[in-house]
């Protein structure tokens, strides 16, 4: 398979394909970096443009946009604690803490390296292993989704710094509000209080913008208006990490990439869960001297590695099985169809020139992204030397515009502000906004998994789980994590 793929490597040097990559990367970076404007939106906007091109060029444009969008979301997460995409929420924790300590450029360096290399590895996995890997997606049924969600929830214990009890309470609150909206099993509007804004459930994006960006802006509004976020006025120009830096972070990077690669293959659960699992893994492996929650580069390396490690493999089930695992993949799936290409194994057989050119394009786009990003990021880093009195209202304005621009739904703006106030109060009282967000993201996956499991197993979930190997592995992992989570960590003992 990989030898077939090599024949089409040359196609990416076609001028049109190169231009498509450039355009896709630029649009993706910019839209991804603006909180509220998400990669699927960037891709949807590019679809009409893509019709002017032959299929492979069009698809290269879209996958470039996708890769760059996920990465672009990290800029604002790191610099302003305002994640541009749901995939970069976890990065905003360590990333922003680094920025606050004057290490914005170092954080961006790590993020860029982790993302670019992660994206390239993920691209190669897609290129070489797509057909066999897609079968893994079919091993995931209701039991596995339920257990993956529970595995994700165990991350709460690790990411709620300070009080595990308050972290769990925050997570429980997140799970509770994740049940808001029309129940798909009965059509019943649950906890909507006849408010139309609640009917479709609480959106993840308004929640993230509120809990992170808006809440942060509220906090920045305290204190001296003249101060900057980081306390520094001069920024370094060292925008690519040296070998020593990479070597110190190597295991964190490898763990982040592997989590991303594996989770990417699981449709619907992968992207938003991978970063948290990678982050929690990193915290559990903390050594004395590591400062998780206070700007630990290892944590950032893992989250940034995982969210771009997901990108390539998340396209696997879409290309091979016609099952798009997320909204971005669904938009790319739609574009394939419009160009007359039916996703599936036959696509690999009948049109290898197209599919492999797209995959090479994806890999090359990650390289281009690296070049662009370091300069764009360097410019964006100036945001951190703007006085708080200016940056706080700017973040609020962008939070409102970003939330409204995607959906034109004014209710989402109110929900975002509501989350902002809740997030601010939680920060002040040491509750865990990350815990709440995890509950909100994983609640529906766990609930649907559980309810499907009860139906599929005829109300005998335990005996059903016992017959499924992946489920058993997940059960053992969960038990192990719960055990070590309640053992004091060396860095907690001090």
């Amino acid at each position: 398979m990989d030898i077939v793929a090599l024949n089409y490597l040359g196609n990416i040097f076609d001028v049109a394909n190169l231009l498509a990559m450039l355009l896709g990367v630029l649009v993706g970076l910019i839209i991804g970096a603006i909180p509220g404007l998400s990669p699927p939106m960037a891709i949807a906007l590019m679809i009409p443009v893509s019709f002017q091109f032959p299929p492979e060029t069009a698809l290269i444009l879209l996958v470039s946009c996708f890769a760059a969008g996920i990465y672009g979301g990290s800029f604002s997460a790191i610099l302003l604690r305002a994640p541009g995409t749901s995939a970069s929420a976890a990065s905003s924790i360590e990333g922003y803490e680094m920025t606050r300590r004057g290490k914005a450029i170092q954080a961006i360096r790590i993020s860029t390296f982790a993302s670019v290399v992660g994206g390239i590895i993920s691209g190669f996995v897609l290129l070489i292993l797509a057909p066999p890997l897609a079968q893994v997606a079919l091993l995931f049924g209701p039991a596995e989704y339920f257990l993956v969600a529970i595995l994700g929830l165990t991350a709460i214990a690790s990411v709620s710094f300070g009080s595990v009890f308050k972290g769990l309470l925050s997570g429980a609150f997140g799970l509770l509000i994740s049940t808001i909206g029309i129940d798909q099993y009965s059509g019943f509007p649950r906890f909507t209080f006849d408010f139309v804004g609640f009917e479709a459930g609480l959106g993840i994006l308004p929640a993230i913008i509120g809990l992170f960006a808006f809440a942060q802006a509220l906090e920045l509004s305290e204190g001296e208006a003249k101060n900057t976020i980081s306390g520094v006025q001069k920024l370094s120009w060292r925008i690519w990490p040296d070998l020593g830096e990479i070597s110190r972070l190597r295991w964190s990077l490898i763990r982040g990439w592997s989590v991303g690669l594996v989770m990417g293959v699981i449709p619907a659960a992968g992207g938003s869960v991978a970063q948290w699992i990678a982050y929690a893994w990193e915290i559990r492996r903390a050594k004395p001297g590591d400062k998780f929650g206070e700007g630990e580069p290892k944590g950032l390396a893992a989250t940034e590695g995982s969210n771009n490690g997901v990108t390539g493999t998340s396209l696997v089930p879409m290309f091979v099985l016609g099952i798009p695992g997320g909204i971005s993949a669904a938009v790319i799936f739609g574009a394939l169809m419009i160009h007359g290409l039916q996703p599936g194994l036959r696509l690999f057989k009948n049109s290898p020139e197209i599919i492999y050119t797209i995959m090479w394009g994806f890999i090359a786009a990650n390289v281009i992204m690296g070049f662009f990003a370091i300069f764009l990021a360097r410019i964006m880093a100036y945001l951190t030397v703007i006085p708080r009195g200016l940056i706080a209202p700017l973040i609020m304005i962008f939070s409102v515009i970003g939330t409204y621009a995607g959906t034109n739904n004014i209710y989402d703006v109110w929900i975002m502000i509501g989350f902002g106030v809740i997030g601010y109060l939680m920060m002040k009282t040491n509750f865990s906004t990350a815990g709440l967000l995890l509950g909100l993201i994983l609640g529906p996956i766990a609930e649907d998994g559980m309810r499907d499991l009860l139906i599929v197993s005829n109300n005998a979930p335990v005996s059903y789980i016992l017959t499924r190997p992946i489920s058993l592995v997940l059960v053992v992992s969960i038990a192990f994590i719960i055990y070590i989570s309640f053992k004091p960590q060396p860095w907690q003992e001090k």
């Binding site: 029309i182 099993y185 169809m337 194994l345 139906i455 599929v456």
Partner: protein, 328 residues
């Protein structure tokens, strides 16, 4: 002094001329500004894709830009609640996408909606994708609807069907069968999209899937799934060899995902005609038709009484099935 007078009088004449041409423009030239095409879902979904494809062709016919605007939320109702209140003068450059059967959630008393179908100023039907039922290719238990129904009758509550959420077109077809076929007892698992359903049926988590022709054609071509029935009055041109539900059972089980376009209530007849003609011509543009053929979105233009007849039969079907009474 004279000069000033002359200046003013010429100014008056000039402005009168300008005003009169504007007046003429209002009467004869419409649209005068970009048209907003409101899609009631997020960017990136199926409806969004179709209307982003459609917009340039409609723009070509109308001579002004057509911008797709997404107003998402409330299962479409954030946008629809606004569209029924559009002003015939102020909102005359807006088109609303209204999805069937989604909009009929207004009939579910639990939703406490006050709107009726008649509140919408429906212009044209745009596309209609019939529901299908499919099973895994090579499943020894059943490879046709007759075998499937027979198996279900002999093994009550054994077969699992993957469907989109309660109240969707996919669910409506199953609910109809449950109501009208005495020994049709199946288990159902629900999803909010086709990805999850396809994953379930391919992996063997479920035994059958209820979906729409458009989305499943690639799976049929791939030889993974086999369609056993189309839930429409006539066979689908995309799947000419697949029988309708009625052909096999004698029961008119009709369910589909439909998209229509509506405009501001009370819009003047001239403007309405201009919009309608443009939609009609754009829908016949061979280039657009070709793209939607690839997209597997079956276009279907209907207007006037024909449009309303389809709307009303869809409403009657939902009222008959009363899905909100069926689930606990």
């Amino acid at each position: 002094m004279k000069n000033i007078k002359r200046f003013f009088s010429s100014l008056v004449i000039a402005s009168a001329m300008v005003l009169s041409t504007i007046g003429i423009n209002v009467a004869y030239a419409y649209p005068t500004e970009p048209i907003q095409l409101v899609v009631p879902f997020k960017p990136g979904g199926g409806a969004d894709r179709t209307f982003r494809l459609f917009a340039p062709y409609l723009s070509e016919e109308l001579g002004v830009p057509v911008n797709v605007v997404n107003i998402a939320g409330g299962g479409g109702w954030v946008a629809w609640a606004q569209a029924v209140k559009w002003d015939a003068e102020k909102d005359d450059h807006k088109l609303q996408v209204v999805n069937l059967p989604h909009v009929l959630s207004m009939l579910d008393p639990r939703m406490k909606r006050t709107e009726t179908l008649e509140d919408f100023n429906f212009l044209a039907w745009h596309s209609l994708d019939p529901c299908i039922w499919a099973v895994r290719e090579g499943d020894e238990r059943f490879q046709s609807l007759a075998e499937f129904l027979d198996y279900v009758a002999k093994n009550p509550n054994e077969v699992i069907i993957s469907s989109t959420a309660v109240g969707s077109d996919d669910h409506m077809g199953i609910a109809f069968a449950e109501k009208n076929i005495p020994d049709f007892k199946v288990r159902k698992i629900y999803a909010n999209g086709d990805s999850k359903k396809i994953q379930e049926v391919l992996a063997g988590t479920s035994d059958a899937v209820a979906g729409n022709v458009g989305y499943y054609v690639p799976q049929f071509m791939e030889g993974k799934l086999r369609p056993i029935a189309v839930l429409s009055a006539e066979r689908s041109p995309n799947l000419p060899s697949v029988p309708t539900f009625a052909e096999v059972t004698g029961l008119m089980n009709i369910s589909y995902a439909g998209r229509t376009l509506a405009t501001a209530p009370g819009l003047s007849e001239e403007k309405r005609t201009i919009l309608l003609d443009a939609i009609k011509r754009a829908l016949a543009n061979p280039e657009y038709v070709m793209k939607e053929m690839n997209n597997k979105n079956p276009l279907m233009f209907k207007e006037g009484d024909e449009l309303w007849a389809t709307l009303r039969s869809s409403k009657a079907m939902v009222e008959k099935v009363k899905f909100w009474e069926m689930e606990e």
